[in-house]
Symmetry: C2
Subunit: 331 residues, 2 copies
């Protein structure tokens, strides 16, 4: 029963976020640019980061509407990174639709991303909170670190010697930072105590890490129909994931050379079921899939432990529920 | 004598800005990304926008050091737009050096621009001023409008029916906004009265317009050696400038079709001395060069009139001197 009520509440928040996002782009301005921005922001998705802002605000005793502008800002920021990352990664589709630079062109992708970042700040600045200067500082650190994370990710593509430690540093910035930013912003807007803000920031940190490792794992173990994209995409692309880097550390002989070939060749067009099968087998053989699963579980446990510092409230329970939902997701 | 003293003061301020820009990029982070950012920020230039922030601060009675972080922020913002515009315009060089996307690649241009925007906010937020929330709002409006201006500029490239009025709307956003932002930020940081802030904002507005029309004019009348780029570049590129759009309104017959061909064909590689000569002759024939000169003079006069509302100070005198220097520049 409780789950149904959580789910309903999540949907209500998501609708509020979607409505707020729908109002981001006004009617005045360069037409195509506005269309592209509207296209990006209407792409749907879980709105996970925005919901984390809202729930964190409520978890410390605030009302979620107080944090709606900041939630909108974080979601716009996230979409800005997606639009630019898609250009850099030459991605053709996103959430089942053509990416902006495919539907329009690279210039439009570039420019719509830029203006989205400006609009993200505009919404953040509408937050009524005495903590606004701190919120803006945190947000800015988030912007800078997300860019650094993306730069590291690009750098790794051309390197064959990336370590697992470096990988964690990269995803910390590229993915984790924005999730920890979301929970911290919400906690501050809700007027949380120092201890509560700290707990929610750390919760976001662990959740972000669990989420990203789970993402790497899903590429290999997911059910294709639910996952929405072909399983093994990371393997085919030679992407430096936790699985690949750890397996490289552990493997020897023929297995190792199979993996090193992945690193060298980079992107391969078309499906490669045999390659995916053999690499997956290597991952199993060296226990890295098992290890990844354990890491997801451990980081999730740490995340949930952070929530123990918070007062018992529906929002706190929902953060628990959402965490488990995310790391147990099949897609 | 006075000019020498102004010039010396300008150089001192410029050195302070350059030193501040040199400290923007720390040592920690993705190496290539940091190199690209450092490369951008060390490109020299007049640092006009930063100096306008500093002088406007002093013109209302502040000390320029108070406004140094904001001046740095505006200069970083300006450089962010240059890096991304250069990608969109496929520019090969900037201030005599390869552009970022040529020296590195498009991905690096994209990402270094993005992070520069984050760093611009970081510096702005370091400003110690009770007006900081307003400064951040103004800055954000600047970011959004500069992007809109660039989108309009791109849109115009594919349209043959752009009006002079639309052109003014575009340069207002693409160029003017950042100059008016600079003077307003400085005035607010310096603790200017409402009337002084207003005067400096309007000064920036008129100066920005004079500056841009002068830029269009210089493409046709400049001395090539001083100008640093080939005269007639806008003509060859089919760029919608004030000169072209006004001449289109006025011309008929063969002249008109010559101009319409410019619009249709767009970019042409290589020099075209004959084309440049014949279009320049058309501009003279319909008096648009004369009109542009008058517009520069009129907007400069309006700009200088705004300064009359300010107390008499060295910085105010320097703003006068700088305005005349800019609009009388040969390059």
């Amino acid at each position: 029963m409780k789950r149904t009520s959580f789910h309903r509440r999540y949907e209500a928040m998501r609708r509020a976020v979607d409505a707020s996002l729908a109002s981001v782009i006004g009617a005045d301005g360069p037409r195509e640019l506005l269309s592209a921005c509207r296209y990006v922001l209407s792409g749907g998705g879980k709105r996970l980061r925005a919901i984390l802002v809202l729930l964190s605000c409520e978890a410390v005793g605030g009302r979620f509407r107080q944090a709606l502008e900041a939630a909108t800002a974080v979601e716009i920021l996230h979409n800005f990174t997606l639009v630019h990352d898609d250009i850099m990664d030459r991605a053709q589709t996103r959430r089942g639709r053509p990416t902006v630079h495919i539907r329009w062109d690279v210039n439009m992708g570039l420019l719509s991303g830029d203006i989205l970042l400006g609009l993200a700040y505009r919404h953040l600045l509408r937050t009524r909170s005495s903590a606004l200067p701190t919120l803006t500082d945190l947000f800015t650190t988030g912007v800078v670190e997300v860019c650094e994370g993306q730069a590291l990710d690009m750098e790794f593509e051309s390197r064959a010697d990336v370590t697992v430690k470096e990988y964690f540093g990269m995803i910390e910035k590229k993915t984790g930072r924005l999730i920890a930013l979301s929970t911290e912003l919400g906690a501050r807007i809700g007027g949380g105590s120092r201890a509560h803000i700290d707990a929610l920031r750390r919760f976001g940190h662990y959740l972000g890490r669990a989420f990203q490792i789970q993402d790497d794992l899903l590429d290999v173990v997911a059910d294709e129909a639910t996952f929405g994209k072909a399983v093994g995409g990371d393997i085919i692309a030679g992407k430096r994931t936790f699985l690949l880097l750890r397996a490289l550390e552990r493997s020897q002989g023929k297995d190792r050379s199979t993996l090193r070939t992945l690193l060298k060749e980079g992107r391969r067009p078309g499906p490669h079921p045999k390659l995916v099968r053999s690499v997956t087998a290597i991952y199993h053989r060296y226990g890295v899939i098992e290890e990844a699963g354990k890491l997801v579980a451990r980081n999730t446990r740490h995340a949930l432990e952070c929530l123990n510092a918070l007062p018992s409230r529906k929002a706190t329970e929902m953060l628990r529920w959402l965490s488990l939902l995310l790391v147990n997701r099949a897609a």
